[in-house]
Symmetry: none
Subunit: 121 residues, 2 copies
DNA sequence: ATGGAAATGAAAATCATTTTCATTTGTGAT
DNA sequence: ATCACAAATGAAAATGATTTTCATTTCCAT
């Protein structure tokens, strides 16, 4: 378990809170920071483990990372431009709990994501 | 634009309506069908273009395809033994639609999965 | 049968991500 | 300050899915 290099997080912030590992790396290079691609990957993974950033997938499968408030929430993602809206889980929070109980599952978590075309696309 | 090889679609059906290109390919090989991996990829792409199949991403980024007509459902997965129960989306279905409309999104799909420990674990 | 278009697939290329491993850096004890 | 050891780093190689190339085969209309 490696700890995240703080410059990676700060770069992700500066990127507008939305970038792939490769983009964070290129950004740091352009700004003259000396860092290896491997460290960027490791740092982002560590931030994901610590739930400081979220990871989603672009349409082409590349993983993109974004700063994420700690409150539990879900995402509405444009599958064309990648624009993301954070939304409340609403009814599905209860749905997950009920379904789990109904089948005798404990310690449950859930994922839920909506994807489509945003109004601009 | 190539046309889809019908054996690919039939294999995807047989796979239970949820498989990656590599899995479809391996399945066809195992059953003695002669086909190239390239053709499997091309056929699946073509089926996606024609909206006959849906494409999503696994957590590891691999693309998975499923028949659109398949009854839509979700999964309750044991994170210890992997046991899976198919469940109805219930409240989620409406939630996704409402959230999408609220933010002006069109052509929306969604993913939702519950994971926890099953009664045996 | 003939010519051209579409389909096929083996092999190479691409590209994100992971793994390996040798080196550097940081920390704490003496 | 010195030594010892653990953690962090990064270059290079490996991995693995997907795409591209391109030569060959299959189809189809004339
Ligand atoms: Zn968009
Ligand atoms: Zn939720
Ligand atoms: Zn279990
Ligand atoms: Zn659903």
């Amino acid at each position: 378990m490696s700890r995240s290099n703080p410059r990676v997080l700060s770069t992700l912030e500066r990127a507008g809170g939305f970038a792939s590992a490769q983009e964070v790396y290129r950004l740091m290079q352009r700004e003259g920071e000396s860092i290896g691609l491997t460290t960027v990957y490791r740092s982002l993974q560590s931030l994901v483990n610590d739930k400081i950033v979220d990871v989603l997938r672009r349409d082409d499968g590349e993983a993109i990372y974004r700063l994420c408030g700690d409150a539990h929430h879900h995402h509405l993602v444009c599958k064309n431009c990648g624009d993301t809206v954070e939304i409340e889980g609403g009814a599905i929070e209860k749905w997950a709990k009920v379904m789990a109980e109904e089948h005798g599952f404990r310690e449950v978590g859930h994922t839920a994501e909506i994807f489509g075309l945003c109004s601009k696309c």
